[in-house]
């Protein structure tokens, strides 16, 4: 529980900056925004996340998508709102249906699809999805939505554990004699790289603003 809280805290304060500061990986996307009764809603897709992954979706093992949605006021570093969504997609080998489950601010919802393309579309689309309470959106000011979608992200614990195994042989020269402790001729066993997620898509909306009614 503590670890989860820690992750949430990191997401909240660190990820927004990372989400929008990484070199050349942000895609501008035109999105539709609507005013609900109390919430600001968005319509958008991020289908590129699952492009060419039909085979892995059909593997029988779950595909996870973690979405982080940040609403920023133009020119400000910190977001005014953050929403987290988890989408899971799995193919039921025996019943031959795709299950898409979404956990987010609207609660949990599971829908079955017979068609793979339809299931993949559903898993990579947000329709009238609440991203911020309207009281946060001031009339006249410019805002935009930043969105980070991660495919099959690894938990920090698993990532660290696997990376640790990859990088640390039993014989740890660096923990051995004093010469290696101080020395500069240090060699560490290195191995294949393990990305923290199978794929990441970063999207940024156009600017939008509220008008008086």
């Amino acid at each position: 529980m503590m670890a989860t809280r820690y992750i949430a805290l990191v997401l909240l304060f660190v990820a927004p900056r990372l989400a929008l500061a990484q070199d050349g990986k942000i895609v501008d996307r035109r999105m539709s925004f609507y005013e609900g009764k109390e919430e600001l809603l968005v319509d958008t897709t991020f289908s590129e996340l699952l492009e060419g992954r039909g085979k892995s979706v059909q593997s029988g093992l779950p595909t996870s998508i973690v979405l982080r949605l940040y609403v920023y006021e133009r020119g400000k570093d910190l977001p005014i709102a953050l929403r987290l969504v988890t989408i899971r997609l799995v193919y039921d080998l025996w019943d031959e249906v795709y299950l898409v489950r979404v956990d987010g601010p609207l609660g949990q919802r599971t829908i079955k699809y017979k068609d793979q393309a339809e299931a993949m579309r559903a898993a990579t689309r947000l329709e009238l999805f609440p991203i911020a309470t309207l009281s946060r959106i001031e009339i006249g000011k410019r805002y935009f939505l930043a969105m980070v979608a991660e495919l099959n992200p690894l938990s920090p614990e698993l990532h660290a554990e696997v990376r640790g195994w990859l990088s640390k042989p039993t014989r740890d020269r660096e923990l051995g004699m004093s010469s290696a402790f101080f020395g500069s001729f240090v060699s560490v066993f290195s191995n294949i790289k393990l990305p923290p997620a199978d794929a990441v898509v970063r999207l940024r909306s156009q600017l939008f603003y509220r008008v008086k009614r």
Binding site: L41, L158, L175
Partner: protein, 519 residues
């Protein structure tokens, strides 16, 4: 996915604006009257409001994440693992792979169970494969599945060290240290290392050589315990100063004496969690020393005095036990941009353990990396300290070449250079061996490129630091100021660090100077 069709929202209430560069534009529309007041209010109160709202969002998110974590195991259809089929393993035994999997035949679970999802990474974590793919297939009955694990093997021979160079007293030295991490596909690692040198060009100097053989297992069974046994033979011709100024490394100022060591080292390492390890090491070795009974040093003024070579003549033994602790939160083990690493090591050698030397050593190292500007750049701080107490044998003392990056370090315990340390603030008497040592350094690194195949990445780096090495006699009981007794030296280094599939290569100025060490 979400309710659509009713369009309960007032679609026109928010109008979409033009596409803009939010990171540079910061012009707000003009405001008057109540709007200006509201803006002022926002400036004053918004940070507090924002902070409070973030706290509440954090609590909500953590609850949501915790609930989802628990819910993973309940997602998807329920299945029974009927069989596990492994393909692509040409040299690695199937049993080894199956043992690494967190699921077993006959187990029942939902397909969303983290054990099934993590299976791929557990196998990948063995370090023997380029890629691992997992999938499920239909079993013989409804609800039964076959877990397929497809692996692609990789080379598991690792180049740990490449020894090659020349110094004023050693015209050539060379050697290799290699490890096969998956010997005959058993998961056992076997390693060998050797260094050989030309004859040491000082009186009584001889060829030097060192060999080491290692056998280890990263994890015994399902446990988090790793074990390694190493045996080594070192035939050293150790130079020691007999005359001349301390900053004169000319070979005419040195003689050599012979040290032969044969020993065994057993290390057990427990992985406490993904970031922390604790280890125990036991060492036992026979030492045969052929040295002058009364070695002397003649200073430039012609005064002759006895010097301690820190080894008893004849046959002696070293028996010691050490405890190790390692905490590593670095983002990457090689081209690091964030996180930190703490390493502690304490060793005790005693006659009670069967040795001839009573001594203790404490070594500590702390390093911290911070990303700056972009994720391609980082700065780091490196702090290292060591203390040796008692009559530690010569090779267990702190060696100046290990502290100063601009000097040649010991090669498997062999000293191949007499080039003196450059320093300032002292009277020139920097010890070759000492009991108190420290290094404080900083480094800037820039990610030059990142690759996916053989070369994973390259970093340009530049750094500098200060080091100090002193004997406890000179620094505690002294007839000179502390600044003189604790000489401080400086080093600077710059170069390219390459992370490759077979190891790390550091092409740097200090590395080059250390490998071609002439006065």
């Amino acid at each position: 996915v979400y309710p659509s069709g009713d369009k309960h929202a007032d679609a026109a209430a928010i109008e979409t604006g033009k596409l803009g560069n939010w990171e540079t534009e910061n012009t707000e529309p003009g405001m008057k009257g109540p709007e200006a007041f509201r803006s002022l209010f926002s400036v004053l109160c918004f940070p507090i409001f924002q902070f409070l709202s973030f706290i509440s969002v954090t609590i909500c998110l953590s609850s949501q994440l915790a609930a989802e974590e628990a819910d993973d195991a309940g997602f998807g259809p329920s299945v029974v693992v009927e069989r596990i089929e492994i393909a692509g393993n040409k040299s690695t035994s199937g049993a080894l792979i199956e043992n690494a999997l967190p699921v077993r035949v006959g187990q029942s679970m939902r397909v969303g169970d983290p054990r099934l999802v993590e299976a791929k990474y557990r196998v990948l974590g063995l370090g023997y494969f380029k890629s691992v793919e997992t999938r499920l297939g239909r079993g013989s009955r409804h609800g039964h599945v076959i877990l397929y694990v497809d692996v692609e093997e990789r080379g598991t021979i690792t180049l740990e060290q490449l020894y090659i160079g020349t110094t004023e007293i050693t015209p050539f030295w060379g050697g290799l240290d290699v490890t096969e991490r998956n010997f005959f596909g058993t998961g056992v690692s076997i390693g060998a290392a050797f260094v050989a040198t030309a004859r040491t060009r000082v009186p009584a100097g001889e060829h030097q050589k060192a060999f080491e053989l290692r056998l280890g297992k990263a994890a015994l069974g399902d446990s988090r315990l790793g074990l390694e046994v190493a045996t080594y033979f070192i035939d050293a011709s150790e130079p020691y100063r007999v005359r001349g100024e301390y900053d004169d490394g000319g070979r005419e100022n040195f003689d050599a004496f012979s040290i032969r060591r044969i020993g065994t080292r057993v290390t057990a390492l427990w992985t406490l969690d993904p970031w922390q390890r604790v280890g125990l090491t036991g060492r036992f070795e026979h030492v045969e020393t052929e040295r002058p009974l009364l070695p002397t040093y003649t200073d430039p003024a012609g005064r002759e005095g006895y010097i301690d070579l820190y080894l008893r003549p004849g046959r002696t033994r070293v028996a010691s036990g050490a405890i190790l602790y390692d905490r590593d939160t670095r983002s990457e083990p090689v081209l690091t941009t964030s996180g930190n690493r703490l390493r502690l090591r304490g060793e005790v050698g005693s006659e009670l353990l069967g040795g001839s030397y009573e001594f203790g050593t404490i070594l500590a190292k702390y390093e911290h990396w911070w990303p700056i500007f972009t994720e391609r750049q980082a700065v780091s701080l490196h702090l290292t300290g060591g203390l040796v107490v008692g009559n530690a044998p010569r090779f267990d003392r702190l060696y100046v070449g290990d502290l100063n990056r601009l000097l040649t370090p010991r090669l498997m315990g062999l000293v191949v250079s007499t080039v003196p340390a450059r320093h300032f603030g002292s009277n020139g008497a920097v010890e070759t061996y000492g009991e108190i040592g420290a290094v404080v350094g900083g480094e800037y690194s820039y990610r030059l490129f990142a690759g996916k195949n053989f070369v994973y990445g390259g970093n340009l780096f530049a750094g500098f630091g200060f080091w100090s090495l002193a004997s406890s006699d000179r620094s505690i009981i002294r007839d000179e100021p502390l600044a003189k007794a604790l000489p401080i030296g400086m080093y600077a280094d710059a170069g390219l660090r390459l992370d490759t599939e077979i190891g790390i290569f550091e092409l740097s100025i200090a590395n080059a100077i250390g490998r071609v060490a002439y006065q």
